[in-house]
Amino acid sequence: MKLTKTLFATTALTVVAGTALTAQDMANSMTLVSWGGAYQDSQDKAYVKPYLAANPGVTATWDESSAEAVAKLRAMNEAGNVTWDLVDVVASDAMRLCDEGLAMELDHDEVLAAAPDGTPASEDFGDLIVSDCFVPQIVYSTTFGYRTDMVPAGVEPPTSVCDVFDLAKYPGKRSLQKRPIDNMEWALYCDGVAKDEIYDVLGTDEGVNRALAKLDTIKDQVVWWSAGAETPQLLADGEVFMGSTYNGRLFSAIAEQNQPIGMMWDMQSFDLDGWIVPAGLPADRLARVMDFLKFATDTQRLADQAAYISYGPARASSAPLVGKHADLGIEMAPHMPTDPANASNTHIYDYEWWADNRDDLDAKFQAWLAQ
């Protein structure tokens, strides 16, 4: 028993050191946690299926629990029974899990593959490595879509995020995410605050009230959503005229489902999604998951993922490899949030500012909602 433990410990060390391992040291099943839907499908097709094909005898199980990953990992940790091997979370959740010690800290250059030209992973991912525990996969954005057939006659279709706040020109319901993030920034921006001053203004009580006052002007026309599938559903139903959601959901509704919906990229809010490895995995499972992680986040795999969903790969070296949609055959690059034409006016969401102010603003936002 003692010997096996020592052996496992050494294997764990060799993994971290990035040395090649024999298959015997690795567990042959993995539980991967993701968001379900088209996004999980894209992961499945771009790197899980190819990995399983290359490693016969290994199985992977999906658990669609990313939405409650933080709570579940806490409970698993408390019960001493971590059943997940690799968890897909948004950047802010990764930061929280890292701070709480629930996610493992990684040396990106050692555990991840370098770019084909030899650029180390940490430079290839660059600023997107927002936490030591976080391996970014994709850049997505929260942005607006609108019903093209509900644009009032004789009016130009909306192009600016401030059109969301313009009930006189564009009457109708809007759907917004039920949280202060993004909504407060858009409100201030449309109330005339310069883009680089948004967080300074939002840091004061007057600023918060100013943002809420701006949101007040459309409050009775807002349908609040909490799951990414809701806005596409509301738009398809014609229940709302415009609404915010993740850009990939809008792409899917427009290009794959042929819904009469138009994209608005103005002031799209960038965010990151990526993997974390839960802390405290047994050595054999850790070895397997590290092997998978290295494969799944290499340059080619991240570029492959973009053939199934319109999210930008997190590696700089993947961007030139982005090709056509796997089924529709359309070029994917123009549908990426990172495409220069789409990213002419973007909102850079400030993780650190929100990490410090989230609780306070959540309380104020909820109180305002309940008014």
């Binding site: 539980t31 379900g36 839907g37 658990d63 408390e78 559903q233």
Partner: protein, 396 residues
């Protein structure tokens, strides 16, 4: 209603019949008017139209022409429906026309009193029908959400939307693709297999333990019967989320969390109360002298149980088992805690699917589950009737 007349019918004065008919027309007009933009206009138009129709039918044409008048009214409504909404209007118009052509004569000729005793006052008659309408409204309220799901599951689009094609009854608006998706997707099929592997075993455990517990608890000499019963029934009373959280931490410590057998045990615990309750209820009608008679003739308790007691309480055992099966088959909270991704059941997949991607595949699965539930409950009802017949409680 009963096919014979309790009270002779007599023609009602128009001063009574027309306002009642008008009110009914107003209610119907409210729906049509709301659909076309103005509820108030609909109410007024509906009331006026129906009063006019009532006047023509009852006074101008009269009882002698009833059959022709009724067909005329139906034709009128169908024509109006087609003008307003095409094919769906044709069907709705036909239904409205059929109802009102019957309703005008039913009110106008005083037929509504026929099945009621002659001594009832006007208020009592009104209450009698108001009660029926109230019951009907509650029924509609309960059943509509289930009925709406069924046509939506044949949607040709990937949204929970009645598309214009569907409302026109255009075959292109309908498809079986969500059913195909369910039967071909490995995720859904795995979930179905998990559900089918977990539910029967959980049912078997609940039935065995529940029946034994019920028999034990209904003998007179067991001490603390009520307290034990209360503890066994508690999974039904304690909020599910509390049982689930407790099971999660307990099962984690003993290594059952995330295993197939853990989920089976958890579901068995949830199913046992149903079996205890139904079997206890059946045992009330069980004649204990039969077991004594069997013992008297030399049968040991096990033989007595299987040869004498079990056949007689079988309907209770089976209905308890069906409840336990449905509990396990429909349960989502406990499995989310106690299960891991390898034990994803159908309700688990529906739950996550509904949150992350609103896909009509869930509606297809829901429709299939509704059909299964109806089949199981029908079986249950047939068994209950059989049991009553066997015990001589109902004529048949």
């Amino acid at each position: 209603m009963n096919g014979f007349t309790l009270t002779p019918v007599e023609k009602k004065p128009l001063s009574f019949a027309l306002p009642v008919i008008g009110a009914a027309g107003g209610v119907a007009g409210l729906f049509v008017g709301t659909a076309h933009g103005s509820g108030l206009m609909g109410v007024i138009a509906g009331a006026v139209l129906l009063m006019a129709l009532g006047f023509v039918a009852l006074r101008v044409l009269g009882l002698g022409m009833e059959k022709a008048t009724r067909w005329g009214i139906i034709a009128l409504f169908v024509a109006a429906g087609v003008l307003l909404a095409g094919l769906p209007g044709f069907i709705l118009g036909g239904l409205f026309g059929w109802f009102f052509s019957w309703f005008i004569f039913w009110i106008g000729e005083g037929r509504y009193r026929a099945s009621l005793p002659p001594y009832l006052t006007g208020g009592q008659v009104l209450w009698h029908y108001a009660f029926w309408i109230l019951c009907g409204a509650i029924f509609v309220f309960l059943i509509t959400p289930i009925l709406v799901v069924i046509p939506l599951s044949f949607n040709a689009q990937n949204f929970f939307t009645f598309t214009p094609e569907m409302l026109r009854f255009d075959p292109a608006g309908y498809s079986l693709k969500h059913y195909r998706d369910f039967f071909t997707s490995s995720g859904w099929q795995q979930a179905l297999r998990n559900s089918l592997a977990i539910a029967p075993l959980a049912t078997l455990l609940s039935v065995s333990f529940g029946t034994l517990a019920a028999i034990g608890l209904s003998s007179e000499h067991v001490p603390f019967r009520r307290a034990i019963m209360a503890i066994l029934i508690s999974p039904m009373i304690v909020p599910l989320i509390i049982s689930a959280a407790g099971m999660y931490f307990f099962y984690s410590r003993i290594g059952l969390q995330g295993t197939y057998f853990g989920v089976v045990l958890a579901h068995a615990a949830l199913g046992i109360p149903f079996v205890i309750i139904t079997v206890t209820a059946t045992l009330v009608g069980f004649d204990r002298s039969l077991t004594r008679a069997a013992a008297n003739m030399g049968a040991d308790p096990v033989t007595t149980f299987f040869r004498v007691q079990m056949p007689l309480i079988l309907p209770g055992v089976i209905s308890g088992g069906l409840f336990a099966f449905i509990t396990s088959f429909d349960e989502v909270v406990v499995v989310l805690f106690v299960g891991s991704a390898n034990q994803q059941t159908l309700p688990w997949r529906m739950f996550t699917g509904l949150r992350e991607q609103i896909s009509p595949t869930i509606l297809a699965v829901a429709t299939i589950l509704v059909v299964i539930s109806i089949a199981l409950l029908t079986t249950l009802e047939l068994l209950r009737r059989r049991s009553e017949r066997l015990r001589g409680m109902s004529p048949g």
